[in-house]
Symmetry: C2
Subunit: 269 residues, 2 copies
DNA sequence: CGAAGTCTTGACAAGACTCAAACTGGGTGG
DNA sequence: CCACCCAGTTTGAGTCTTGTCAAGACTTCG
């Protein structure tokens, strides 16, 4: 039950390696699933660095990741790159609604990957016959928006250390929810390099390197050559949720009116 | 025709001050519009700083801004604040799909504002009878996600100067598209303070102040006490799109602050 | 008038970036 | 087997951008 909401299992066809795909059928109904399966124009496979589409293309399909990781990113005129989203099995991307526009980002594979192609037009007409599918799509896109906002907060207001730690923890969480690792796994293989992490967090890879070293030395976590290991989950949470001050507090720090002002409004929780 | 896509006119009721609301009716059909209008449970009015909902609330409504500006923001445990989105007339926010979760951000008015309340449940059932409405909703939410990604790139990969200039230009553009100012307006009144801008861009208000001064001295634009004026659109575009590199100053020397004070203080006195 | 919220400025500190160089491990081809 | 290359990683030194702290000035409003 929870799984449905967590892994956004929009659709996976028979070739999808993920178990429990029946959940999806149950959610949108067997008939809709059948039609959706036939609406799929094809499945495509990729090896690392293969592009799905590129900045400036006109894209008329939505995609669902069946296996592997992909990334969405934008490159500015002068070469600066920002990764906007990592994609894992079950994720939806591309042109979901029919608002025809050139796309402003690129999509490419990070690992061996396969995705399912759903032409937007077919998806639109299908949605009209199967409102439940429409619900799922809307939820998925709303979730995407929500995650992007989260990223804004992460990049805008957190220190480099917090950003890196948070991203890595987030990746592990997502893998757990998708059953890509055991639910109690304390580590995983992530197809990320220091450059990738930097481009996702608005940092240089060099600084990412220093941050990783510091996290390692703090015995919080280590990320070496794609292998993530959480050493101290408690201190990691403390680092991320500020329940504990790590090295940041200087001499007698007193949160006074300045803070009270911003926090003055009810902040539930 | 173009307008439909640009201002995301999801819905406005008779009390909405915006002209051309007929466009919206034409888009989703008169019957759907009628039903949507009756689905609206109420309209609410706000004065600056009034909350619509707060972090931690359970929200069961979607909202459409009828007039005024609002902001969505998140406050971290230690008081750091990140504004995730500014809302202007026509914008949709709140719980559009029925994925029940506590909300992780707050919404509050920046100006006098009125919004239309659409209970999510009614919206969901209405969508099933009027697929075109579903299309519009999906497009709107996808657009939101897209704009959030844009924000990620802006904050992650652009300098403080670029960020500020971009935000101000973006606000003016949005106002133009919504007919809140003349299409050829070179300035506008924005309900933003330097603190607000900082919180939206991941900067401190003090640094925003420095950046604004520098933009003013560069004769690109001025933003004084809520009044935006674009002085040199060409150089602004150059600054933002890198067709030219803004030689901030040849050597890394502090810009001379004594001069150009006249340009700096055109107001008041 | 005072109070609160803004804006402005300066001096300084810290965080993050740049440049440059060296190291690693895995592949490749001779 | 080795030399070589390559992408990724590591480290250091120096610089620049941005944040912090502190204080003063200006506006608005009751």
């Amino acid at each position: 039950m929870t799984l449905m909401h967590t892994i956004s299992p929009l659709f996976w066809c028979s070739s999808c390696p993920i178990r429990d795909h029946s959940i999806c059928g149950a959610m949108i109904g067997p008939q809709a699933l059948g039609e959706l399966a036939s609406a799929r124009s094809s499945c495509r496979s990729f090896t690392p660095c293969d592009p799905v589409y590129a900045q400036g293309d006109r894209v008329g399909d939505a995609f669902v990741v069946l296996s592997g990781w992909l990334q969405l990113y934008q490159v500015l005129e002068d070469g600066r790159r920002q990764i906007q989203r990592f994609l894992m099995p079950g994720d939806l991307f591309g042109a979901v609604s029919a608002s025809q526009q050139d796309i402003d980002h690129s999509a490419e594979a990070l690992t061996q990957a396969s995705i399912c192609v759903l032409p937007t037009t077919r998806l639109t007409s299908l949605r009209q016959r199967h409102p439940t599918l429409g619900n799922r799509l809307l939820e998925a896109v709303e979730q995407t928006a929500h995650e992007a906002m989260d990223m804004v907060t992460n990049i805008g207001r957190r220190s480099a250390t917090e950003r890196v730690a948070r991203l890595l923890q987030h990746c592990l969480d997502e893998m757990r929810r998708r059953d890509l690792v055991a639910p109690d796994a304390r580590g995983a293989q992530l197809p990320l390099t220091q450059v990738t992490i930097g481009d996702a967090l608005g940092l240089t890879s060099i600084h990412v390197n220093r941050v990783l070293r510091s996290l390692r030395e703090m015995q919080v976590l280590s990320f070496v050559r794609g292998t993530l290991l959480i050493h101290d989950e408690v201190r990691l949470d403390a680092l991320l949720h500020g329940t504990e001050q790590h090295d940041r507090q200087g001499a007698g720090f007193v949160p006074d009116k300045r803070m009270l002002r911003t926090v003055a409004a009810p902040v539930g929780r």
